[in-house]
């Protein structure tokens, strides 16, 4: 089995505001090995979240290759990417994003149940991971009954309960105070060491950067590099292909007067 979990080659992703292109990713190459605890650093707007979304298959790159566990997302239909995520990729979001109507244990067990496993097995798994993240006594608490740090721990447990090859965490400490953030990072590094789960974390929190191994930096949609032979980034017009609009979008633009 290959050691490479993530393979991103020459990836471009643009967003358009009217006719003005914004290249969120401008020729990015990333490779993540199994068991790494990689941190993706960069300022807001540098393209970290977009890169995570593209790697997670939540959206497709405009150009380039994105392979996770050997699966080329550009060649994979949306429903199949969703199924793939369910089996292989755990997500931790900045705003915790737990399901409000489920308690901690149900939130964690939910993805396991979606995978079609037995309910009792999922409950055991959920209990195990919640105990691992230090919430073994708060199983029945609903999200609104937990602090931000506790909610983020539940989110980490949820990501791990599906037994993923990869956990993507988008600024997981951004909404936490520094001490809670440090605790969360310690937890994640411990889980990475204990279970050899691959983590790719986007952050500009120094505590997270300190824990990362390796740390890569994004700026204006490109990885920072000291390589003098590396070609310069493409200008936005060259990086972004003009999107094809369907007749409905064209009609909407005509109605609103926005080209």
């Amino acid at each position: 089995m290959s050691d490479t979990i993530i393979e991103v080659k020459d990836v471009y992703k643009c967003f358009w505001v009217g006719d003005v292109p914004f290249p969120a990713l401008n020729g990015v190459d990333v490779e993540v090995k199994r068991g790494q605890f990689m941190v993706l650093a960069g300022r807001s707007g540098s393209g970290k979240s977009t890169l995570l979304n593209v790697i997670g298959g939540l959206e497709l790159a405009d150009r380039g290759t994105v392979k996770v566990c050997g699966r080329d997302f550009n060649e994979t239909p949306a429903d199949e990417r969703t199924r793939f995520r369910l089996r292989n990729i755990g997500f931790v979001f900045q705003a915790y994003n737990l399901i409000g109507v489920l308690n901690a244990m149900e939130n964690v067990a939910f993805v396991c149940q979606l995978q079609g496993k037995e309910n009792s097995e999922c409950m055991d798994t959920a209990k195990h991971w919640l105990t691992e993240v230090g919430l073994g006594k708060l199983l029945d608490r609903r999200p609104h009954q937990l602090s931000g740090g506790q909610q983020q721990r539940v989110a980490v447990a949820r990501a791990l309960a599906m037994n993923p090859a990869l956990v993507l965490a988008d600024e997981p400490t951004a909404n936490l105070d520094s001490s809670t953030g440090r605790e969360l990072i310690e937890l994640m590094t411990r889980l990475n060491e204990d279970f050899e789960t691959t983590f790719l974390i986007s952050s500009h929190d120094p505590a997270v950067l300190a824990a990362g191994s390796p740390v890569i930096h994004l700026e204006d949609g490109r990885l920072l590099s000291t390589d003098p032979n590396r070609p310069p980034p493409q200008p936005p017009q060259a990086a972004c292909a003009i999107p094809q609009r369907n007749w409905g979008q064209r009609f909407g633009a005509w109605i609103t007067g926005k080209s």
Partner: protein, 408 residues
């Protein structure tokens, strides 16, 4: 992929806004209960109408010579009644009576009047109709009566006769000769139905056979069967009797207006049901769509976790259906209870229908639960709940995960 956790979540989602869910469920329940009650009232009214019509004089099915209903001639009756009685026995009909029907002139001390002549067999008439109950002065005919008669109160007034007085009846006998006979008035009927009050002369079959020299002949066999057996008995009799010689008519073949009125009334209820369903559709759609829009971000998260778009749509549909099911269960329970209570107690419309009292329908209406109408109403509500989910579910399938997560 397992759907159980999504269904469980759909059920929990109903509790996110209990007041909103409660209001929607209440709207469905009240709407359904009102529909069930209204249709139950209408069905009760129809039952009452049909029962009164049959009870008073018509019966369920009438057998007579071909064309007799259009042109009754008392002397051209059924000459081989045994043939019909065998058919009745084979069809399992137990409640039947024989009649002689035609036209005659009746002369009293004050006036002479054309009348509908009806000969009955008093010993069996009571098994088919409640004609005897309409006699308010004197008595109804008895088996051993000879030349006695019952007339309506209006006729008694215009002819100037009372109990114990005699009337001279004139009618053509089977040779076409005018036959006359004196009859003693033993009963005066009141009721207002079918012209009994004025214009009907009721005596025994035996007396008319003797007077008109048509011994052994009758013109009609009038049957009474439960409404549920009407069609099978009708078909069986048509099969057994020669349709070239006899007409076998159901009550609504003879009085189609009432039957058509009932069909029209049911049609009106279907239109009314559709209007209520449209209103419910709007209410449920509003609730489900609001709920869906509020949770756009959560839908994005679910998709990121691995929930398929089709599963999201299914979850929305299940939420809507659950609202519908709860509403239908509550509404049906309430509606059925209302119909049951009203069926037992009765709804007295005397104050409203005083003027038309006695016109086929009793002023006290007892509601009736028609299972077919109940199912139509309940299924309609459930279908509407499901339809209300179509648009929100479709919107859920159009969500892009990243945009949905950024939402709200």
């Amino acid at each position: 992929m397992a759907l159980a956790p999504l269904f469980a979540m759909a059920a929990r989602n109903l509790g996110r806004h209990p007041r909103r869910t409660g209001l929607t469920v209440t709207a469905i329940a009240v709407g359904l209960a009102a529909l069930i009650f209204l249709w139950g009232f209408s069905d009760g009214l129809h039952s009452n109408l049909v029962r009164n019509l049959q009870d008073t004089i018509v019966g369920s099915i009438d057998i007579h010579p071909k064309g007799f209903f259009q042109r009754p001639e008392i002397t051209k009756g059924i000459v081989d009644p045994k043939h019909i009685e065998n058919a009745l026995e084979e069809a399992g009909v137990e409640r039947w009576t024989r009649r002689l029907v035609g036209f005659a002139l009746a002369a009293g001390p004050r006036h002479t009047s054309g009348m509908v002549l009806m000969g009955v067999e008093p010993e069996t008439e009571g098994r088919v109709t409640t004609l005897g109950d309409k006699v308010t002065i004197g008595r109804f005919l008895q088996a051993d009566d000879d030349y006695q008669c019952v007339i309506g109160a209006g006729s008694a007034r215009s002819l100037g006769v009372g109990i114990g007085d005699t009337l001279v009846l004139m009618a053509n006998d089977r040779f076409g000769t005018l036959a006359t006979e004196e009859f003693t008035v033993v009963g005066i009927a009141t009721g207002g139905e079918l012209g009994i009050d004025s214009g009907m002369f009721i005596t025994t079959v035996k007396a008319l056979q003797e007077m008109l020299e048509i011994h052994g002949q009758v013109s009609n066999y009038t049957l009474r069967v439960p409404e549920s057996r009407l069609e099978p008995v009708y078909s069986a009799l048509r099969e057994k009797l020669c349709v070239e010689r006899f007409d076998v008519l159901r009550w609504y073949d003879m009085y189609p207006m009432i039957h058509e009125w009932i069909i029209l009334s049911d049609g009106f209820h279907l239109v009314f049901l559709s209007v209520v369903l449209l209103i419910v559709l709007g209410g449920v759609l509003n609730t489900v769509l609001l709920s869906m829009l509020e949770r756009t971000r959560e839908f994005g998260i679910l998709m990121a976790l691995g929930v398929q778009r089709s599963q999201l749509a299914l979850m929305v549909a299940v939420e809507s259906l659950l609202i519908g099911i709860i509403g239908v269960v509550v509404g049906a329970t309430l509606g059925i209870a209302l119909v049951m209570v009203s069926a037992r107690v009765g709804i007295d419309l005397s104050a409203l229908v005083g003027e038309t009292r006695g016109f086929y329908v009793d002023p006290i209406i007892r509601t009736r639960l028609d299972l077919q109408h109940l199912w139509i109403t309940m299924l309609g509500m459930l279908l509407v709940s499901l339809l209300a989910a179509l648009y929100p579910a479709w919107r859920a399938t159009r969500l892009a995960p990243v945009e949905a997560i950024r939402h709200g």
